[in-house]
Symmetry: C2
Subunit: 378 residues, 2 copies
Amino acid sequence: MTEFTQPISVSSLTPRLLLGPGPSPVSPRVLEALAHPTIGHLDPLFLALMDDVNRRLRDVFGTQNQLTFPVSGTGSAGMQAAFSNLLEPGDTAIIGVHGFFGFRMAEMARRLGADVVEVEADWGKVLDPAQLIEAHRAHPHSRLLSVVHAETSTGAHQPLEELGAYLRESDTLFVVDAVTSLGGLPVEVDRVGVDVCYSGTQKCLGAPPGLAPITFSAEAVRRVSSRKMPVTNWYLDVTLLSTYMGAERRYHHTAPSNLFFALHEALCEVEEEGLQARHDRHRHIGQLLQSALTSRGFNSFTESSCRLPQLTVVSLPGGKEEAPLRALLLERFGIEVGGGIGPAEGKVWRIGMMGHGARESSVERLLEAVHALGVGEG
Amino acid sequence: MTEFTQPISVSSLTPRLLLGPGPSPVSPRVLEALAHPTIGHLDPLFLALMDDVNRRLRDVFGTQNQLTFPVSGTGSAGMQAAFSNLLEPGDTAIIGVHGFFGFRMAEMARRLGADVVEVEADWGKVLDPAQLIEAHRAHPHSRLLSVVHAETSTGAHQPLEELGAYLRESDTLFVVDAVTSLGGLPVEVDRVGVDVCYSGTQKCLGAPPGLAPITFSAEAVRRVSSRKMPVTNWYLDVTLLSTYMGAERRYHHTAPSNLFFALHEALCEVEEEGLQARHDRHRHIGQLLQSALTSRGFNSFTESSCRLPQLTVVSLPGGKEEAPLRALLLERFGIEVGGGIGPAEGKVWRIGMMGHGARESSVERLLEAVHALGVGEG
């Protein structure tokens, strides 16, 4: 006799309402596309679909960049692709750190042998562009300057315009992490002057996790092609990847076709809704949630002037411990919200209203559950 | 008026019978699991499912290795994870090259700064273990020695036993690429003495592409933890990944939960069929196909003593050009087979009978189509 263990099956997994920092809920239509029978990565039908995904991503990124595609990995693989391709040992990288993901960028850059100049702001605030510009004046030959547009650890919305305008006049590449912003906030790569921008599919784009949309400007591509050493990361080498994405159609790796199906369908949903309307929806629902939580005594972790609509980071009313209540929210009500990470661990809830989940019914279900758990007034 | 372009939609993609070198056909049951509503990567339900996936992978790999899990990327990300974690600049790597994927391993190792000792065999043949052992005697302090178990470019089946037995007595790690073998042929990591073995989900395991199962022996883990420098590839750093997979459950990246659902279901199918029965099925169907093709005048590209059952590489009868007929096979009959890569480009078909596709009806449909196209006798 073997030991009795509860058998685990996918079909018996309880559905959840995903209101954490991602993944966000995936619409039935996108799930259906995900399950379309697999086709090959070199099938002409797949290549046409991939081209269409890339075209749609250009629209969402607000760019004409030819080299725009989904990396075959999650959002962090997008970050890795940006840094692995742009940096060589000895390069200087100026990195804005106002949360967990800025810290991660700095860590990746250091591992690649870069001299990292960190410009910091307190968690929950945004970086002062003047400080980043000052750092650049001290290190004018920096290879890149990077910031996180929507800090998923703190809920802070970093402005990009001033940095983009300043860096246009320099040889330094502007790298933007848009993992939690793309599809929920305007990113506008070309207008702002971003050189490399990456995201994830599982946040405001409304697709399942597993792909990381990325875009490289012509300037960034020139930088990659003038490297002294090949990219140590073969899997994410964009020069190799572009021979698959481009006219050559040269085999590089087996693209995860089903994830492309889902992303394509999610991007069709974005187009049908309209990008502006989608941004408006995220803003509207975020404001609705934030004012409701405030009236119930939740406190914003994020400085009020820079709160993201799609990701709300709050501490609980009355100094209540977050983890046990978060576990109850999941077990009793099937609602996932995120806990804090880094210095915010144990202190906050991170509540996402992203993609298909950014709707009034999500706010209502969450507020009802919070009420039933006896958290806060009202 | 905008220019008229054919709209592309996932639901209108023609189904294909996938008889190329991968992806292989995915069963309806696995596709259904794939489309189960997404859940979070830190949800206790997901963590339990992930543990169960890892346990099932240990069974298929034939290992007790604790560090056994799917990398969040395709098969090549598995290769990248093996080499990025094991190698540091200046390490020596002995690499067996008898096809495209051996060449790729050597390329990855060089990019990581290793001194690569290539031991070659002609495409279509296997490596003589004696030659690899000789290379090791010349470089006894090599960090690793790696071979491709099932060369997807040539259809050759590399024996592992002698190498495994020899390397047990050394400090050199034995790395095996099992992308096309796992689930179709016995791999038996622990019995053979393999230290790091990686695969892909989209071949003989019968899941969609996007994950790369990998396993590290305790010896390999010790090597990683005694590195002088951190792994330059943060995304694939197994030390970080093991804090997510292990008891700490520390967030590293957003695991692609839907791909895990599909892999779990595919591994349930493997268990229900039985690993031995699954290997037998692949062998039986491969032999059926190969003898039928031989009787129709196809010529094996692979030396007869080392043909893989699950991947058959053949040139066409009568010196017929392969590419136009392969395109017709896809367009008219909806059957995908692969073309050659590297020196075999334009010379061969690569026909996979893998996973859910390894069945008599696949052989019959292919033979009927080949007959209708007027290729070969019979």
